[in-house]
């Protein structure tokens, strides 16, 4: 046999055996997609806009099917699409709405938080944070709006160097939590008929130090923790709310009233539907 036939034979057999192996393995290792995934994909608009906080419609569909949570994420599709998806997954679209939201743990406005230098670098929080920014408080919001940039639903806004969260829009996707270099955002559960209370400070320094840099900082005095059945607790000179156990408005409100620096914020936002 001459060399040409041998090479053709050898190459042919190798190629054939590989293709057979691949064919066999693709049957053996076939991964069954959730049939609902395709249905959800068909309902979605297929714009891959990313407004839901996922990289595309497919990623969103996968997340929705996997967690059986709607997040009401699809903005272009709106209520209609969300209802259809809810129908496919047999979950209630309304019940799942607004059970969590994001809050920003710094509510000091311009003038309240001290700025003794000016910052002229790249106008992003991430860059400013590297060198400290203009703000004296090393825990507080630098108000350059990295979070606004990443928010897929436009729920965040900046006014007087304070971040406002529009809780009717927030889908609690957690992008702001990741984007904030000072980790100011937390995702909190919403409770029935309770407004959103927020210890709007993240300064872990001792009280005297905190007061030097901000007029609204939490000084860790602990007065809010001393009211009856208080949901507040102290950690690292800073007050926190135990949201899981904060089921009554009264102690929350009393703690807020007691606060000498008025750093506890109340935002009137109640959900009336029962959280699951």
């Amino acid at each position: 046999m001459n060399q040409i036939t041998i090479s053709v034979l050898v190459l042919g057999t190798t190629g054939l055996s590989f293709s057979l192996l691949l064919a066999l393995l693709s049957k053996k290792l076939h991964v069954e997609d959730d049939p609902r995934l395709k249905e959800v994909l068909d309902v979605l608009p297929g714009l891959n806009c990313g407004a839901c906080g996922y990289s595309g419609c497919r990623a969103y569909a996968e997340a929705v099917v996997k967690s059986l949570n709607l997040f009401n994420g699809c903005l272009p599709g709106g209520e209609e699409v969300n209802n259809k998806i809810a129908h496919i997954l047999r979950i209630d679209a309304v019940d799942k709405k607004h059970t969590v939201t994001a809050i920003c743990r710094c509510a000091a406005q311009e003038g309240q938080k001290k700025e003794s230098t000016s910052y002229e670098g790249p106008q992003t929080c991430k860059a400013a944070h590297l060198i400290g920014g203009a703000l004296d408080c090393i825990y507080g919001c630098m108000a350059l709006g990295d979070c606004i940039e990443v928010c897929p639903v436009g729920a965040l806004s900046l006014n007087n160097k304070k971040i406002y969260v529009d809780h009717t829009k927030c889908i609690a996707c957690g992008k702001c939590v990741k984007a904030c270099p000072r980790k100011l955002f937390i995702i909190i559960p919403l409770k029935e008929n309770i407004d959103i209370y927020n210890v709007a400070c993240s300064n872990k320094d001792k009280g005297a130090q905190t007061q030097k840099v901000c007029a609204r900082g939490c000084i860790g005095c602990g007065l809010c923790t001393k009211v009856e059945s208080s949901p507040y607790y102290l950690k690292d000179n800073l007050s926190y709310i135990d949201y899981k156990n904060a089921t009554q408005t009264k102690p929350l409100e009393e703690g807020k009233e007691k606060c000498p620096t008025k750093c506890i914020d109340k935002e009137e936002f109640k959900i009336s539907v029962k959280a699951p």
């Binding site: 050898v10 691949l22 393995l25 290792l29 590297l130």
Partner: protein
């Protein structure tokens, strides 16, 4: 043992595939924007490179050489690499969906990564024995992973630096790559002949 160690160190640092042979430049420049994706890509390359080198060695020495068909090595190696990547992808998808998710598009991209074909061809050209080939493949992957991570780390920091307009983007990336290659030249004194 000493031989294997020598192959290992010289492949990772001294004769780094990316920075001394300039193979696999496409993913090196393309996937080095973020550390996370660079890590995933590097891991996938280590995995496929080790496997591809071992299987290519077996096919070359057990099939091609006995028939005297050494000139077919290019075609056969490409065949091996492409099918291997497919098989690996199927396996990962079945048994570790999480890893499949994190590797994402990078896994199929490896099919066309010339560094892998390069390693297979070097392995033949240098007459490595089987164990040496496996170590060589693994070390080459590790070198790729290392350089990719270094590059991604530098590029993430560079985002916050003010750069003259002419240097922005691709040119700065290429300059960085060149400087890195120069730095890696320093390793050539590590092993004296």
């Amino acid at each position: 043992m000493k031989e294997l160690l020598l192959i290992f160190i010289s492949t990772v640092l001294i004769n780094n595939l990316v920075l001394s042979y300039f193979l696999g430049i496409c993913p090196f420049l393309g996937v080095s924007g973020r550390i996370e994706s660079a890590f995933g890509m590097g891991m996938a390359v280590i995995f496929v490179m080790t496997l591809a080198t071992s299987i290519s060695w077996l096919i070359y020495h057990l099939i091609l050489l006995p028939f005297g068909l050494f000139f077919l090595e290019y075609v056969v190696f490409i065949l091996v690499i492409a099918s291997l990547v497919q098989i690996v992808e199927m396996f990962i998808r079945k048994f570790s969906p999480a890893l499949y998710q994190s590797l994402g598009i990078y896994l199929p991209l490896i099919t066309t990564n010339c560094a892998i074909l390069g390693v297979a061809l070097f392995m033949v050209a240098r007459n490595y024995k089987f164990l040496e080939s496996v170590v060589f493949g693994f070390a080459a992957g590790l070198g790729f992973w290392l350089v990719l991570l270094i590059m991604a780390g530098i590029r993430e920091e560079l985002e916050y630096v003010e750069v003259p307009k002419v240097f922005k983007g691709a040119s700065l990336t290429l300059i960085t790559a060149g400087l890195l290659a120069l730095i890696f030249m320093g390793f050539s004194g590590l092993i004296s002949a």
